[in-house]
Every structure is written in C-alpha cells, then in structure tokens.
Symmetry: D2
Subunit: 335 residues, 4 copies
C-alpha cells in the first residue's frame, strides 16, 4: 500500500549504524562529529552512535542525536532463552536512554505503533501496542488507587495513509494535543541495507521519526518540533531492497576475495571492484528498476519473527517504564 | 476486556426500535413524542423511529433524534445475492439519512470504527475501516486531480480503552480537531435484547454514540456536543445478554400460549405471566448473576457474519458517500 | 458450516456429567450401573463417572466407559497462574487415565484435532494440534538419537466435512492405517446444556467420539471399533443452545424460589414448575425453533478463551505423554 | 520450520521453464528431448514445455512430463480485472491439461493443499483448500440429487512435517487409499531462481510432486508411482534464495552491459563475466552461506498476494472441474 521512496542518491538504510559504516568506507576513516562505541557480550552487540554536529549529520545522512543499536544474530533461531535475555538487555538500554534523553521516571508516555496490521513485515508497531501494558486509564479514573512504581502509559496504532486517508503523524499530533503526554515512543518497522540485519537488530534513537524513514512512506515526521514533546523512536529492520542484497553481496565478495588473494579483486570483479558502494548500487538499480525487479523483500519466516520481536519490545518497554516491573523477569507481564 | 454495565433499571438494548417496543408494551400503546413507520419489501424490513420530544426520549430511554433500522432475517443464511441487495438498500437509506441530517454532498467525512480487533463480535468497526474506500489524502495531496463525484473521506479505528489507555472518544476528538471533517460516521457493535436481531439488523441514528451503548463500555460519548460536528451512528447488534435470551423466550412463550389457549397463560406460567418484562428480567437476573451465568453471548457463526456485514456496510458507505460509485453495484468498490 | 442435529427427544449435552445429573433428577436418585465420585480442591472440581452397564448407558444416553470431568469456573477470569495449575492437574488426570485405559508408556500416539479453523468456537482441535509437541518424525528419521523419556507423537487436523468433502472419521482412519499408532487422542469442541460449563470444563473419555457429538455434525465416529486402536476423547464445551440457556435458567429459578419460599414455585411458575426438564425444554423449543431463534451461542470472549484452553491442553498432553517433560512445569514446552 | 535443501550442484528452481532456460544457456542452444512453445496474449504468457526423454530430463534436472507455465507480470498490481482474466485462462489451460493427462470429465478428484498455514509464503495450498468448492460428500450422501455438470471433488490440507510429525505424502496416501479418488491435484508454493517470477507465475505439471521441490522440504513425493493415480501439480513461486537474486541480477547486468557497449562486459565485471551461471552462483553462495546471509526471501506484499492467487486458483479449479461452473465467470463460485 505504502512504498519507500527510492533514495536515488544513496544506499537506503534506516539504521544510523549502517549509514555511519557506509560514510566511513567512502571517507576512508571516522567521520568528524560522529562518535561511536561498541560493546559485545552474551551474543548481543550494542553500538552507540552519537551524531554531534550538523556536519556529521550531513556526512552520514542521519539527524543529529543519539542512536543505540542492538544486534543479535541469534534471534533468527527462535531461541526463547535468548529472547528473554534480549528483552532484559533492551529494557536496561532503553531505561538509560530515557534518562539521557531527559524523560523522567514519572513522565507520562504515549506509545505510537506505526505501520500496517495487514502487511506482516510492517505490523511491528500495531503488535507492540497490542502487547504492551497500558495504565493511563487507571491514573485518569482512579488516581488514588494506582500502586507505586507505575507511570501513566497509553498506546495507539494510528494505521497507515492508504487505510485511513490521514498521515499517521497528524493522527498522533491530534492525540498528543488531546491527552498531553510528556513524551512519545514511536515504534516502526525499518528497511536495512543488509539482509543480515533484517530481523536481528533493534535501533533506539532520540531523533523521532523523519519523512522517508520506515517501511511506509511518511511525508510528515514525528519529532519534537512537530509534537512539542521528546520523541524516542524504536525501529527494527524487517525488509531490504533487492538491489541492496545484490550490492551488499558484492561488498562481501570483495572482502572474501581480498582475504583469499591479494590482487584478484580487479581481475575477478573488473571495474565493479573499483566502484564505491553508491556507484555500484546505482548500476544495480539501473538494471533492476526498469524490469520491476527491485522489490522490497523480507525473510520467509517473517510471521513468527514479527510476533517474537514485538513481544521482546513490549516486555522491554514494560520493564523500563515501570519500576514495579522487574527487569529480571520482564516477559511475565506481557502475553 | 471491556464490559457492559448492567442497566439494573431496564432491559438493556442499544436498539431504539426495541426500546420503543418495550415502552409500548409497558404503556399499552404508542408513546407520545415518538413517531414511527414501517416498510417491508424484498425481505428487508425498514423501520423509521423519530423521537421528537424529551418526554418521548425519557419514555423509551433513547436520545431525541431519528433512528432507521434495517432488519434482514435472511442475513443468517450467507446468501451473497441478498447481501448485495442489503448493501444497495442500506446505501439508499443512508444517503437520504445524511440529507435529512444536513450533511451535504461534499461534506468531508471521518469514519470512526469503534471496537476491538481481537474480540470477534466487537470487531465490526475496525473491519469497516479496513474495507471502506478512503480519499481524503488525494484531496490533500493532489486536489486538482481528484475526479468529480468523490468527496474527502477518512477512516480510523481508535481501539478500546483496555488496549490504548485512552477513551476512544478522546482519540476521535483529537483527530477531529486536527483534521476538521464536516461530519463523523461512527460504526459500533451493539447489544440487542433479542437473539433474533443479533446479526440481522443495522441501525442508523443521528444521535451519535452515548456512554453505555455498544459492546464496549464507553464512559464518554461521540456526539455533536463533544465533537462540534454532526455524528451519525451505524450499529449492528452482535451480542445479547443470556438473561435477555431467557426473558425474550418467556415473552414468546406467552404469545405462543395466548395463540393456542385463551386462559392457559396464568395456568402454565403462573405469576410470571403477569409480571411486566422489566420485573421478569429483574427476577431472571437475580437468579443468574450471583452464579456468574449472565454472560454476554454471540452466535457460533460470528466470524463469518462479522466479515459479511462489515463488507455490506463498507460497500453501502462507498455508494452513499460518492456519487461516482453507483448504488446499483456498490460491492465492486470494496474488497 | 456444520450444524448439530437437534436431539428432539432430550436435552442435548456432550458431557456425561450433565447427562448423569439430568437422568438422576428425572429418576429421583442414582442410576444403576453408573458410578461416580467427586473431588474438589484448589478451585478445580474433578468428577469421575463410570458407566458400567448397558442399562446405565441407556439411562443417561452415553456410551459405557469412563469419563473424567474437570470443572474450573475460575478459567473465565484469564488468570495465568490458574491456567498453569489446570494444565498440571489435567496432565496428572490424563496420565492416570491413559494407564487405566491400557495405553502404555511407550505407546505411539496420534492426536486428532477435530473441528473448523475458521469458526472460533469450533477451532479447539486444530489449535491444540498447532501447539502440541510432535516427535514421531524423529523416531522415523533418526530413531537412535531420540533422548529417553519421549514417545512417538503425531498430530493432524483433518478439517470438517463442509471444507474437505470427506468425513473427518475417514481421514483419520486412512492416516491410522498408514501410520499405525497404538492409540488415538481426539480433541473436539462440545456443546453443553448449561452456559456455566461453557469455557470452564474439560472432559476426558475412553469411549472415543460418537456420531452427533461435538459441534460439527459427525455422521461417523472415531472409536476403537472403527480405528482398531483405543480412542481417548478430550472435549471442551464452547457452545450452548439458546433453548438450553432458557431451560437451565428455569431450573435455577426453581431452585431459587424453593430456597426462598416453600410453596411459591407453582404460584410463580405455574405448570412449568411441575414439568420435568425434558418437557419444559420441549415447550421452549416449540416456541423458539419455528422463529429460528434456537441458535447455538458462545460467550463473547471466545477468541481469548479458545487460545488459552488450547494451550492448557497442549501443555497437559506434552507432560502426560513424555516422561522427560516435567508435570511441574508443563507450560514451557508449548508456545 | 521446514527448509529447502540447498542444491549445491545447481541453481535451485522448482520451475521447469527456468531449468530449461538455464540448461539452454549452458548448452548454447535447445536441449534434445525437450520441446517447448510460447504464447503471449493479453498480458498472459503461456509456455508449454514437454520433457520427452530421459536425456532431456537429466539435462534440465526435471522429471519427464508436461509443464505449462502462466506468467503474468501484471499480477503484482492487484488489478481485480486482470485476476479474473487469469482465473479464466488458468481454467482453460487446466481443463485441456487434464484431458491430455487422461483425467476424464467425471474422474473423482482429491485436491491436496500442501504447506504451512502459519508461514504466509507457504500457505498457498491450505488457502486453496479453504476456498475451493467440494462436492464429494453430496455424491456420497445423496448421489441421486446432485445436479448434472458436477463431479466429486474433495480437498485436504495435510499440514507440514514439523507440525504433524508425519510426511504430508503419507497422509495423502492414507486418504487416497481410504477415499479412492481417480486423480490427485497437489497445490504447493515453490521457489524460483528469479525474483521477477515470484508471485507472478503459475506452473501446472503432470509429474506430481518430487522430493526437494516446494518450499517445505519433502522427503517423499506425491507421484503416480506412490499414489497409484495420476497426480497433477499446481505450483506458484512465492520465495527465492538471496543468492539467486544476486546471481540473477548479475545475469541482467551482463545483458545490460552487452546491450550498451560491445566489449565492456569483461572490463566491468571481470572474470565474473566469463563464469557460467552455476559457477557464479557457487561463488556467491561461498560468500553468503558462512555468514548466514543466504536467506529465503519473499516480497513484502506477500499477505495480499497469497490471498489473491489462492482465489485465482480456486476459481480456476472450480471452472475446469465442473461443467456447470462457467469459465466465463468463475470467480462467483469462490468466496
């Protein structure tokens, strides 16, 4: 129903981590104004990218702000134990992220689950809304009786433009103006440039949602400027362009060749070896698009994955938003 | 998740037609201030009830205003031909209804599909939203290119309090204030007092949605007073209280006995014969409620029915809202 | 799609416990040839009915054999803790039941999940099949590598006559002849005569499935005579006839009146007080059926309930069929 | 749950048409023993491939027999009019196919819908079963009353090994032995080597289903040898290996370069230009597999597509199997 604009000028990715890597490769080194650090434990890789300056922002094509990315290749294996560990880790990261973003312990939260119920790889947001614990109505209807350790949380799935005729941004704006939360958490399915990151990665960002990001084509964003309150975005790549799969494979092929024989790159891959990634992607698209082959694809197992990751995020949100919900066993509060 | 308040004082029904019949039986004749007329053709019975005065309103327990009810017993048989006829008839009735309600040909419409996706008998509203044709975004994004014969229609499913933590009334209010439609059409699943009307009846009303009506327990309504624009309600009874089934059966039993033997009513049914319907229902509830037996029930075939009736309403709305969609073949525009 | 035959001659119930109670009321005391015992602990009521003679069988209208019924009124409240307790208790009862039925520890099992995916109250069987652990393919493909404590279990959902054009009994027969299990466990949704037992009761029986039982109208049964191996039936009432709700309410009304004023029964209920249950039900049906009002209904919350009870049964089966799965924590093996 | 074996030795495709094209490219011309013809009208391309000899069979890696392929690139656009045209055309092709395969007008048919309900791109078979018209039970229960122009059709969805613990081949065998149809029609989702054929192609074959074909990994086939009656297979590619997308893109790149500059192929693509397709795919896999990147993917819009194509096939089957169903308006008989 809704389609991604093709970013003609660059590899399309919604992940700041990928954008940074691309820019570094092109630049031959670190990008000024973009700080990053990496942790790797227990099969969970946590990257923190901080885009500090406008210059850095332009260089990687992402808004200034903080981005935390959890990469968990093992998520593909449907291991319930690992899923619990990821929920706990996500809860911890998200809790500190909220703190750094100045969203206090008792700030009232509106969770906005973007995307389309009926398109499995785009259903992440609505599924999180369905699974997360909401409490705002208790605070409204019987404020004296709410146990300590909880805050007011509400959650809506605004639908997509093709179904509603209204930008999801406008719907959320209307609800924010009516219900006055202190912060918005926006959940969205994303596009990655690498098939390996699809269904294995969670990105948290304090930049909100910007036009053109996510699977649906958003013409208006969800940002602090628009909503008047901080917007934390949680995204999971669930799709990839066919052209990106091809391009990414060529990159891996180069690495592979480089590792095996010093000079064979050019010999085997010809000029494609010397092209930078954007040029090569350009060439691939020139070939695929007129034939209608540059489809957006998702792994065959998407139904199960979307359900699992929605549960992980809902559990993690419950634990990080309510002190009364223990981060050591977050899954119990979510069905 | 959300439950009906038990109306202790009276038989609960969301249908004005049933409320009027109850009041007439109690009153032994027509209710002052409540006009009604009845048409019956092609297996479709159309009743028009006009509650003209406050007195009439109090007598039947329904807001002053106009109510049109379509009763189609044959809908139970999953007859595709009949469904098309009902969609066409509904479109005609709804078109004149809009006119009488002062909603003009080019008035911009917001359709609000109330209810819960995950509770089949409460999923009517969201299903209509999913199936109806929306056009508002074309008017917003390329107003010059919209063909004549269309108007701006948008549609949202706000979810239920237990999922969102926000009254659906507040969500719709926020969206109305942001998008400024000229009228709202609210779709909701209802409770009937008679099992025979479940899944066979469509009610249209110009009174909006009031607290306590519908399957979900709404504390705040969707009315012209609240939203500032006319609110047309479309409702379909999909559930009934067990106590109402019992009570209704006793009424039928009386009619049956009366038809067969003049005096046997009292003999066979004892004092229950002499009780009025409210007293009897009171007695039935006294028995059922402490045992937890006064459940809200729905016919076994609800899954298929909800899908069919949502299609009928979506098709009918398409035809009545857009002149370019022909009422003679409304189904084609809906999937 | 498939409908119950109306049993003209008697109150329809698929529960032996209800059939026994009905017969006892009519008989004014215990039925010869029908033994029963009752345990009640932790909110779980366990009844064991043993129909020992042909005479007893005729008197209650159920096949000779053993019937165990778990009644858990609290299941209506969606309490996860209670659900785990019920799964554990069901596993224990089922394990002893298998033993008494002569189905040994290593007997290979075929689970047959009867019913229709697309009709929520009839979807119990297919949902259990989807959630239960199957192991037969490991025994077939790598028998040496199966850990001790498991047995060969397979599971199929044969569909319903209206979808397949084949009696589910014939499909299961074909699969039994091909795969040669030592016993069949058949799961089916049932009709109860009392709304209170709907969604709160599990019946286990060693009599197999007989024509006319279950929600779908089975013309051929699943029995030891037909399949050549023992057939254990697990059933959960998910629907009730409207006429049974009325009749059952009248019975409760009588009890209520009897408890409050010695002689008022006749006065208030007239001759209906003196009718026996079958006569009264006959009268109720005479009234409801010509009007098409004797629908089969299910509680509004059926979607959530069916999912919960399917999980309970799947967990319970996993624990009772495999020694390696601990009855103290059966839920973990089921998703 | 079930995964494709990687065919190490060759490009994996379930389409005979693709296998033939690959072999012809490698061979530099037509393959002896493999006849083919091509028709193109109204946006529907119909190819007929006849593998006449064992030699031809070995050369293209497909069983001897007849294969008809409908390619309809426009199916991606969700055009209802085109869908009706495709259903009609498919019905005509399938009817002549049955005739050529010696399956007579009154032959009793069993439709076997292979695949997994819960994995969207693998749900084609079960969805066709749900939508197709079954009649066998009428012939069994009231043979005198069946109108002329119909034949006995039944339909089952046997499930997948991971859910049932039984090979679907064994389940179908058991049902065939019990119900004695004259022919089996097996529906299955397939893998293509080219993303462009995913969701746009229907293959009909008289060779049955062979181990390793389809999305699920079938260890035992559904063939005339096994079932004793002719088996017609209908398959639709719904997935593709990531490595095939890359490989296919390289082939397109070559064509593209060849069309633009005579000699630039080698220059730009290096040695990869000179590799044959199998070698190149080998190289791509060497790179992708160790990284776990050679996923099986499906287009993002798979949910809607699977529903549409299942309807097309069900409508087409209804029209071709029953003379009383008119090929000019097949869609009406299917919901």
């Amino acid at each position: 129903m809704d389609h991604l604009d093709l970013r003609q000028y660059a590899v399309h990715t919604d992940l700041a981590l990928e954008a940074k890597e691309l820019a570094e490769t092109a630049n031959g080194g670190p990008i000024p104004g973009v700080l990053s650090e990496l942790l790797d434990e227990d099969g969970i890789k946590v990257s923190r990218v901080h885009v500090q300056t406008e210059q850095g922002s332009r260089a990687i094509g992402k808004m200034p702000g903080r981005y935390v990315t959890l990469e968990i290749p093992g998520l593909r294996n449907q291991d319930t134990g690992l899923q619990d560990k990821v929920a706990t880790r996500f809860a911890q990261e998200f809790e500190s992220f909220l703190e750094r973003a100045g969203v206090g312990k008792s700030a009232r939260i509106l969770i906005a689950g973007l995307g389309n119920w009926n398109v499995t790889p785009d259903a992440l947001g609505p599924l999180v809304v369905e699974n997360v614990m909401v409490t705002r109505h208790f605070f409204e209807l019987m404020p004296d009786q709410v146990a300590p350790g909880y805050r007011a949380v509400s959650a809506v799935a605004p639908g997509v433009l093709g179904i509603t005729g209204i930008e999801s941004s406008e719907i959320i704006q209307g609800i924010v103006e009516k219900t006055r939360p202190d912060a918005v958490i926006a959940i969205d399915a994303l596009a990655s440039k690498a098939l390996e990151r699809v269904n294995t990665t969670i990105q948290i960002a304090d930049t909100g949602i910007h036009p053109g990001s996510g699977i649906g084509n958003k013409r208006k964003g969800l940002t602090k400027e628009i909503l008047g309150v901080p917007v934390i975005a949680i995204g999971v790549p669930t799709v990839v362009f066919a052209s990106n799969i091809v391009n990414d494979c060529m990159r891996l092929l180069e690495d592979h060749l480089a590792a095996h024989a010093a000079n064979s790159g050019t010999q085997i891959m010809g000029l494609m070896h010397k092209m930078d990634e954007n040029e090569r992607l350009q060439l691939v698209r020139e070939v695929l698009q007129p034939l209608g082959h540059d489809l957006i694809v998702t792994p065959k197992e998407i139904d199960q994955f979307i359900e699992d990751i929605a549960n992980i995020i809902a559990s993690g949100l419950n634990a990080s938003l309510h002190d009364a919900v223990d981060t050591s066993n977050v899954a119990a509060y979510t069905h």
